[in-house]
Amino acid sequence: MKFLFILFFRLTTFFLQTEPAPSSMKNLNFLFAAYAIVWLLIIGYLFSLSRRQKKLAQEIEMLKHGHEAK
């Protein structure tokens, strides 16, 4: 819990840098940046797959309806 508290504290003061970090919490900004990048990449890729899937499904529906209408 102490770690979570310090994480929250460091994130809220990320831009202000008002307090020096405790030695064990040094480089928390780097850790935060690394995990943010990982999540952005994974979620971004999943989102792009889902968007492409929806687009293809819509195209299939359109073609099927168009074909049936003929």
Binding site: K26, F30, L31, A34, L41, Y45, I60, L63
Partner: protein
């Protein structure tokens, strides 16, 4: 053949399972595991950085196997599996190449150094980005798939080079902690969290591959439908 509903339910179970594994993994990494004594909290990047590298190797391994299968059996679906796996491998290699420098900066005092492990990993990334570009630029599907398969098989040579780089040459990158020498290894809590993270990333790879292959199947269905419409 499973119905659409069964397939959707299975997909949801798979997605929920992976999400749950990831949540437990995050709990392990940020709360359960003790902070490593020499590097401090920055060492926690290890639990995403190393499993990402392992999964990238696996993804390129799948590309290698399916490229061989495509060349021997000439089934286009094998080429599609190889391509999808390579795409996911590139995502995980990108994670490795981005998290590595962020870890290196506070520990080595540099973002990047041209040592054997780092350079061979960057080369690996370029090889598979090149593989994907080759696929996009070749007009004829069969010919493009053939070229790409050969390229993927030759390119896979770099995977063992990356793995062995810090064993064969002197590098700034840490010496191996898995299957390393007698003085290597991890303490039990760190090892357990690492292994759990590895399993989680394996699940994530399978989930991404599943979604990517589903997309590929839909694309094939659309192509077939377009052909039918054109001929009718």
């Amino acid at each position: 053949m499973p119905t659409d509903n069964t397939l959707a339910r299975r997909t949801n179970i798979f997605l929920s399972g992976t999400a749950l594994l990831m949540l437990v993994n995050l709990y392990n990494i940020f709360i359960a595991v003790p902070t490593e004594s020499s590097m401090g909290i920055i060492q926690r990047i290890f639990y995403f950085h190393v499993p990402s590298a392992f999964v990238a190797f696996l993804a390129f391994g799948v590309t290698f196997v399916y490229s061989i299968r495509f060349l021997t059996k000439r089934k286009l679906w094998h080429d599609r599996v190889a391509y999808c796996s390579a795409e996911i491998g590139v995502i995980f290699t990108t994670i490795v190449l981005l998290t590595g420098p962020i870890w290196a900066r506070p520990v080595w005092n540099v973002w990047w150094t041209w040592d054997a492990r780092l350079t061979s990993t960057l080369v690996l990334w370029f090889i598979y980005v090149g593989y994907m570009m080759l696929r996009s630029y070749t007009g004829d599907e069969q010919r493009g798939a053939r070229f790409a398969a050969v390229f993927a098989i030759v390119g896979f040579v770099d995977v063992p080079i990356v793995y062995l780089a810090n064993r064969l040459w002197r590098t700034l990158h840490p010496q191996p902690v898995i299957f390393g020498g007698s003085d290597s290894g991890m303490s039990p809590p760190i090892r357990n969290v690492f292994l759990f993270s590895l399993v989680t990333f394996l699940g994530l790879y399978l989930l991404l591959l599943f979604y990517r292959l589903r997309l590929e199947r839909t694309q094939l269905e659309l192509n077939e439908l377009k052909r039918d419409v054109a001929y009718s």
